[in-house]
Symmetry: C2
Subunit: 405 residues, 2 copies
DNA sequence: CGTTTATGTTCTACCGGAGCACAAAAGCGG
DNA sequence: CCGCTTTTGTGCTCCGGTAGAACATAAACG
């Protein structure tokens, strides 16, 4: 997308902006642990400077001075700092099986949420988005006083043109060329228009950081989001790679076997045909409406059909992911969505396949981990992404006016 | 590798360092086109500030004031600036078929080079590196006065642990666990120890920028380096993705057909088995020592065996690259090495396969382009990487002492 | 040859961090 | 209970760096 390198000369205000961002980020990384002096130590700046920066952020509501516990060390007690509790991000998600709205504050806490489960395959975009808008409006209306929504995001299971706010195609919803903003704009009073994004990218972000600026357990990983289809994302140094148009991560359509079954996408032998939710359940002989939990209990009970289906999925995942790891050298795989609860069953075979097919496995063995099982991870990620605007450029949010993007 | 985000507070000297780097980079991007006033306009700084920064860089030898041509516009004529001609990078390369040494200056000009072709498969690392060292010493001895080598790199066709300066394994050389610095250290007087890197990564860099800081025709592309094996690299926003350990880009071992032939790497149906130099020539019935030029002329003459072999390679490349494009969303493929001269023959089929198997092809059709045919692109890339240290932090090179890394 | 126009230079003003001194708020020890 | 120690927070001056304007310079144009 961007070059990652500013081409504009740095002036002194840039310096201050940079340092404000660094202070905010340092506090976000260790909420409640840093004081003004701690910030100075962490950044290597003079105490006076750090104090001035902190004061400014506190005045703007981006940082809070929190109550201190019982004084442990001697010396004047520090005033612990935490990310402000007023700035919040609005995350929304539409998936084949649910609609979700979630509001996160700068500390990463869920301030409010609404989830609504419903089979939305083939649904009418206008109707579904209107439902989402109503849920969103309810959530916004119920927010505590003082909470300021600084941005909004919408996770969608398909190819999104973020620049134009356009969902190009979401196969499992049956949607094409939908512009969510047109429906949502009027329904969310006082909130910015949600920026659409790919569900898997955003879910991966919720794994990469648990709260704005607070790194999760993994910093480099390949994320697999098993919904009805299989989406994915590669995360490097805590950043989701979105590619040149934002369409990266379509791991579900990596070819596992060119002689394999046809895929609606036009290719053959796509991973989705082997490890997608429907394919997996069908191969195991589990009714489609039973879900992966049933598959799991059958496999744990020793059902041979279930085990065979899981082995097949592990094999297909192994072929596809080995390719990804060979190309990207990110030897950690996090399984999310319906694959998360199957991780224990898939891992042994999958790690075997990866060890065999990844060139560098001799020196660093690829590992498979389970992602969180919180529903609607995409909504969380969307809220986190919205809040990132604050971390990136705190100065914009210090002035009284909450300028939207 | 790193987080891409400094955690240290910015002080005023940081500001100056940033701006010096920006000035240098701006001049490198447009050598000979910018004056002091031009720099001020490009960076948006005051003219006085820009002039002061330029003066400092000129005094340090990082910028040169070059002769101006005939005055075109009216007004006081500008003094055009160009990257300094004294700082230089030393790039070296060992491949299965050649040893190369190349010195590039900050303007991207080849100051000196030595190439030596020889079949080095199964060669003794010590002997070959000693040969490389001798060539390097000759090149260094012949450098014009005033040229200062600021860094050195060594492109190697295998897995490199850059942190420890260790070549883990280079299958086509038959080398394992080689530490080039041990041999080279004493042989290159007055030059820093070459930092090893992967050949494909470095060759890709030479495509991404033609001179330090001067972007090449593509900013986002997947590079394929057809040597005996097939290496590769993904370049995003002009930056080569090296992965978490620097082992990214092993496209040659992406699985094209799990039921395909065994590969020495332990996997099956690797791309290399279909589109590697030896596999390709063998499939076409061309003698191994004849090379791709012979294959090309046969195919252009209509030889059915040659065409079949190329179609097979295009198919395999299509399957593997479609996977890469699906995952990374980098819809430009640059073919280098022996594949470069076969581009015209491979492109039609390859683009067809990509169009069919890439999910987003409907909205943006993947394209295939030919890389340069300059020999030893890895050496060029290694020299460019060495020079990057200057662009990243010019301040280090302004003081008289040429502190090595 | 004066005017016009753009470049390069010099000077002051302002901004922001560094560094120091000092006040404040706790624990520790008598 | 009181002074000492220790750490935090605050106020001050100094210094480095950019902004901006005024001025000098070097060409082309009429």
């Amino acid at each position: 997308m961007d070059d990652g390198r500013a081409t504009t000369g740095a002036r002194q205000s840039t310096l201050r902006a940079t340092n404000l961002a660094l202070v905010l980020r340092a506090v976000c990384a260790d909420p409640g642990e840093l004081s003004r002096a701690g910030v100075a130590a962490a950044l290597g700046t003079a105490r006076g400077t750090a104090a001035r920066l902190v004061d400014e952020l506190v005045a703007g509501g981006l940082l809070d001075e929190v109550e201190r516990g019982p004084a442990a060390r001697r010396g004047r007690p520090a005033t612990p700092l935490a990310p402000g509790s007023r700035p919040a991000g609005l995350g929304m998600q539409v998936d084949a099986g649910l609609v979700a709205v979630r509001v996160l504050d700068l500390r990463g806490r869920t301030v409010a949420e609404r989830l609504h489960e419903e089979d939305l395959r083939g649904s009418d975009p206008g109707t579904t988005l209107a439902l989402l808008g109503r849920l969103g409006a309810e959530v916004l209306a119920g927010l505590p006083d003082g909470v300021r929504v600084v941005g909004a995001g919408l996770a969608l299971p398909g190819l999104v043109d973020a620049g134009r706010g356009l969902l190009l195609r979401a196969p499992n919803l049956g949607w094409s060329r939908v512009r969510p903003a047109e429906v949502l704009a009027g329904l969310l009073p006082g909130a910015p228009v949600p920026v659409p994004g790919n569900e898997a990218d955003l879910a991966a972000r919720s794994v990469a950081e648990h709260a704005p600026g607070r790194p999760g357990p993994h910093r480099d990983f390949v994320y697999l989001s098993g919904q009805i289809g299989i989406g994915g994302a590669a995360v490097l140094a805590g950043r989701v790679m979105t590619g040149s148009s934002g369409w990266a991560g379509e791991i579900g359509h990596v070819c596992v076997d060119p002689a394999g079954p046809d895929c609606p996408c036009g290719s053959t032998g796509c991973l989705e045909r082997y490890a997608g939710r429907l394919a997996l359940l069908a191969a195991a002989g589990v009714p489609a409406d039973a879900g992966p939990a049933e598959l799991r209990s059958r496999a744990e009970a020793g059902d041979p059909g279930a085990r065979r289906a899981l082995d097949g999925a592990a094999w297909a995942l192994g072929v596809a992911l080995a390719g990804v790891v060979n190309v990207l050298d990110i030897p950690t795989v996090v399984l999310g969505g319906h694959l998360a609860e199957l991780t224990a069953l898939l891992r042994p075979r999958l790690e075997e396949h990866l060890a065999r097919r990844v060139l560098s496995a001799r020196w660093r063995r690829p590992e498979v981990a389970a992602g969180g099982t919180t529903p609607a991870a995409g909504a969380t990620g969307a809220a986190l992404r919205a809040l990132d605007a604050v971390l990136e450029d705190p100065v914009r949010w210090l002035g009284g006016s909450p300028q939207p993007v």
